[in-house]
């Protein structure tokens, strides 16, 4: 019950996982054919931003939980620990997106594929943080 609010807030992250997974799946398929296009990256990035990042921002905007308390439906709040962990994971996703962009811009498709694999790993990390906190992804 205490995690109910967190579940509500981060359901969109669950959806983000699905949406991003779908996009990742698409791009992975493309990568297997040794091509990662700018549109592939743009759609993946917008999907991630519109789901995971937007929800993370919404979560951060909740009031701070009082000491030694967590989420309740009656008291929507965020904890510093979880916010920091999710933001750190998000930062790795951001770096991976930028590296992939750099490789595409420079026309290095092999590098883009490698960067894309790193991006998949980074997204898996943030998904694990979410699932470790009792939120289905």
């Amino acid at each position: 019950m205490n995690m109910k609010l967190l579940y509500i807030i981060l359901t969109a992250i669950s959806l983000a996982g699905c949406a991003t997974n779908g996009t990742l799946g698409t791009i992975t398929s493309v990568a297997n054919n040794f091509v990662v296009t700018q549109s592939n990256l743009d759609s993946a990035r917008n999907s991630y931003d519109g789901t995971a990042l937007a929800t993370l921002k919404g979560y951060s905007a909740l009031p701070r939980c009082p000491k030694s308390t967590g989420f309740t439906v009656a008291n929507p709040c965020h904890t510093r620990n979880l916010l920091v962990r999710m933001r750190n994971a998000d930062n790795q996703v951001d770096i991976a997106f930028n590296k992939t962009q750099d490789q595409i811009t420079s026309g290095n498709n092999t590098g883009a594929v490698a960067a894309w694999n790193s991006l998949q790993t980074a997204i898996a990390v943030i998904k694990k943080i979410i699932s470790d906190n009792g939120i289905g992804v």
């Binding site: 030694s68 929507p76 620990n81 916010l83």
Partner: protein, 75 residues
């Protein structure tokens, strides 16, 4: 169920609705672009891509500001 409980539930529903709305406002432009790229063949211009990155930076700055504020006290 007494009036106070009903009012508290309504207040909570409004609060949750506001949260959902705020997330939606941030989310919608990105999701619309993602949809248009994936299903309508839209190609982002350099300006649109720069705007996307700028919006990302703005959102992350907001999150980082909250984290900095949180650093002042323990959970």
């Amino acid at each position: 169920m007494d009036i106070a409980t009903i009012l508290a539930d309504v207040q909570l529903a409004v609060k949750l609705g506001k949260m959902a709305y705020d997330i939606g406002v941030d989310s919608a432009p990105f999701m619309l672009d993602a949809y248009n790229i994936l299903f309508k063949g839209k190609v982002l211009t350099a300006d649109e891509r720069a705007a996307m990155v700028a919006k990302e930076q703005s959102m992350r700055a907001s999150i980082d500001a909250q984290i900095a504020e949180d650093e002042k006290t323990e959970d």
